[in-house]
């Protein structure tokens, strides 16, 4: 384990930054390049990097697959829920203008849903594939 000390330190610094960058992309999506999909991938990358450096078990403990599953479902529910809410508020489906706070809030909520789902699904796929390979012993690094 000690052999990767540099990697570990560097990634511990990087991972929060990656997540923050993800959030930046997420919120920037409202008025520039970016959006929930890209942000979701970036956030997932943060966790994947963690898994690569600290091991799959660690990552699974940090973000359990069950949580990721629920996240994936939750994202869809948020997205579709916004649509339902807009119906409840008297607009058409996904009519942002009737949501309090207007279009910004509506789009933001939807994008958060996308982020959640994309990040979770990326992770789930990674877990699924990574779980199949044997652990690489230290000597082979």
């Amino acid at each position: 384990m000690n052999s990767h000390i540099v990697l570990k330190v560097a990634s511990k610094v990087l991972i929060p930054l990656i997540v923050v960058f993800g959030l930046y992309v997420q919120f920037h999506g409202d008025f520039g390049a970016g959006g929930g999909f890209q942000a979701g991938v970036i956030v997932a990358v943060a966790v994947i990097l963690y898994a690569l450096v600290f091991g799959l078990e660690e990552a699974r403990r940090a973000v359990p697959p069950a949580v990721a599953k629920i996240g994936a479902a939750l994202g869809v529910v948020i997205y579709a829920g916004v649509g339902i809410v807009s119906i409840a508020l008297g607009g058409n489906y996904l009519d942002y203008f009737v949501i309090p706070g207007g279009q910004h809030i509506g789009v933001l909520l939807v994008e958060i849903g996308v982020l959640l789902t994309v990040a979770s699904v990326m992770l789930l796929i990674f877990y699924a594939f990574a779980g199949r390979a044997r652990e690489i012993p230290d000597e082979e690094w």
């Binding site: 629920i70 529910v77 339902i84 058409n92 996904l94 009519d95 942002y96």
Partner: protein, 508 residues
């Protein structure tokens, strides 16, 4: 608003189109993460019932009032995404929703026998998502949205098929093969849509149709047409692009087979009709020629060759999978005719085929549940050991052959008349040949079921063991529909004529 649905709350009626798609979608993801499979099934049952009810309301409304356009996010079409329901897809929505509900009734029996316990919630989730995707394809008026929903349904279908691995490991390769082929199809389709966007600058199908007028000679449009037809051809198992289908149908869980056979290819077929007749114009030189030289000959070839293959199968679900390929040929033939009568006949056959294949596959599913048999020779004496299931199967089979008094006859007759109108004798011949072959492959199974003694087991004949009610009820509803629509053909014929009127502006 028609008086029949006046008792519903106004918001439900007004927002029925998106709710029809979104509720199964939300419920699907929720069902997927629930810890209890029973609870998931409860959701599935409730939601599919809700969807069936909504679809009937929508269909009634459309029949009474006419086209129903719903602008998502209040963005007026053609800018925003539009859900657009007319005579063509009202029937499709009804079909998918009702079949979905019937399959949901049957689901627990199949799932508990065939799907690994840890996968069951996920199975129900995938089922609902697939259901939502199919409804979405049918309901949307936006070409790209069609692609999205097509993929939603397809991807969940791959998962559903793969879950057959609990029973037979070959489900995994079947699913993988299906995935590859389905993805190629989807890619072709989206490329075609891209071409259309390039040529017209819009994704709204009605709008594309308007703007295509006068662009007949445009190479981009022509390429778009070619890609869309071939892409959808893959999805709907047009001969010879069908090879994913037999494996997928034979190794998927029995529930999935019944559901897919009755809905998935039908929805893809609906999309083909929508594009060929609704977006493009059969009057376009290239479209008309493609129908005569590409679709119709392949349809005829599919009818005959796939029927032949069906005759020689030893696995009974595979047999009926090939029969499905042949039946798709019938429908494509109707499209290939390019006339209103042909389209109407083809739509009618789509509807009726869903009924008969639903019956047949549900019955075969019940037989598998009862005895774990899939080979034709294993069905010996089934008429005695599972009398009700076999009787339903007989009705479905006869309908498939096209015996008068069953739904199959009505649509085959309509197709025959449409061919005669056009003077296509070769098509009539192919129809006849395929029907005779159908008589043989169905007859082979019936002979096994009724004229052979039940197999011996430890020196005793296998005892009677009727299927559970949850399997019998949906099977018999479909079987009864086969008979009812064979005699009172009014409702489906009206739907089909409305469909023809919706895309061609004239009923046959």
């Amino acid at each position: 608003m028609t008086p029949e649905i006046a008792f519903l709350p106004g918001w439900l009626v007004q927002h029925a189109p998106p709710l029809l798609v979104v509720t199964p979608l939300i419920a699907g993801v929720i069902a997927a993460v629930l810890p209890s499979a029973r609870a998931s099934w409860g959701i599935v049952l409730a939601i599919t019932f809700f969807a069936a009810a909504m679809a009937s309301f929508i269909a009634m409304q459309v029949m009474e009032v006419g086209v129903w356009s719903y602008a998502l996010g209040s963005w007026a079409p053609p800018l925003g995404i539009e859900y657009r329901i007319d005579g063509l897809n009202a029937g499709m929505l009804l079909l998918v929703a009702v079949i979905g509900f019937l399959c949901a009734i049957y689901a627990p029996a199949s799932v508990e026998a065939e799907v690994a316990p840890e996968n069951r919630s996920a199975f129900y989730g995938a089922f609902l998502i697939c259901f939502a995707g199919l409804l979405g394809v049918a309901i949307t008026g936006d070409a790209f949205n069609v692609f999205v929903f097509l993929e939603i349904s397809s991807i969940s279908t791959y998962a559903l098929v793969a879950m057959g691995a609990g029973r037979d490991r070959r489900a995994l390769t079947a699913s993988y093969n299906y995935l590859i082929m389905g993805t190629i199809g989807a890619t072709f389709f989206v490329i075609g849509v891209g071409f259309l966007y390039m040529a017209t600058g819009t994704l709204n199908m009605a709008d594309i149709a308007d703007r295509l007028q006068g662009l007949e000679g445009d190479r981009t449009v022509q390429a778009g047409f070619a890609f869309i037809v071939v892409g959808l051809g893959l999805k709907l198992a047009m001969y010879p692009l069908h090879s994913w289908l037999p494996n997928a149908y034979s190794y998927a869980p029995t529930l999935v087979t019944a559901f897919l056979a009755a809905t998935a290819t039908k929805v893809a077929f609906y999309t083909l009709i929508r594009f060929v007749f609704g977006v493009f114009d059969p009057g376009f030189g290239f479209a008309g020629l493609s129908m005569i030289w590409l679709i119709a000959p392949l349809a005829a070839a599919g009818m005959v060759v796939a029927s032949f293959q069906a005759v020689f199968q030893s696995d009974v679900r595979r047999l009926f999978a090939y029969s499905s390929v042949a039946q798709v040929g019938y429908m494509l033939l109707g499209v290939g005719l390019g006339t209103a009568a042909g389209m109407s006949a083809s739509f009618l056959h789509l509807f009726n085929h869903a009924l008969m294949k639903g019956t047949v596959f549900l019955a075969l599913g019940a037989m598998w549940l009862g005895f774990g048999v899939t080979r034709i020779t294993d069905l010996r004496g089934m008429g005695r050991t599972m009398p009700y299931t076999s009787a339903a199967f007989v009705i479905g089979g006869l309908s498939l052959v096209g015996v008068p008094g069953t739904a199959g006859f009505v649509s085959k007759w309509a197709l025959l008349v449409a061919c005669l109108d056009r003077g296509w004798w070769w098509a009539v011949l192919a129809l006849g040949a395929a029907s005779v072959l159908a008589f043989f492959y169905v007859g082979r199974v019936l002979e096994m079921m009724y004229l052979r003694e039940p197999p011996q087991h430890d020196g005793h004949a296998v005892t009677r063991s009727p299927a559970p009610l949850a399997a019998l009820a949906p099977m018999w509803i479909l079987a009864a529909a086969n008979l009812v629509f064979g005699i009172w053909a009014d409702i489906p014929v009206r739907l089909a004529n409305a469909a023809a009127a919706a895309v061609l502006g004239s009923a046959p």
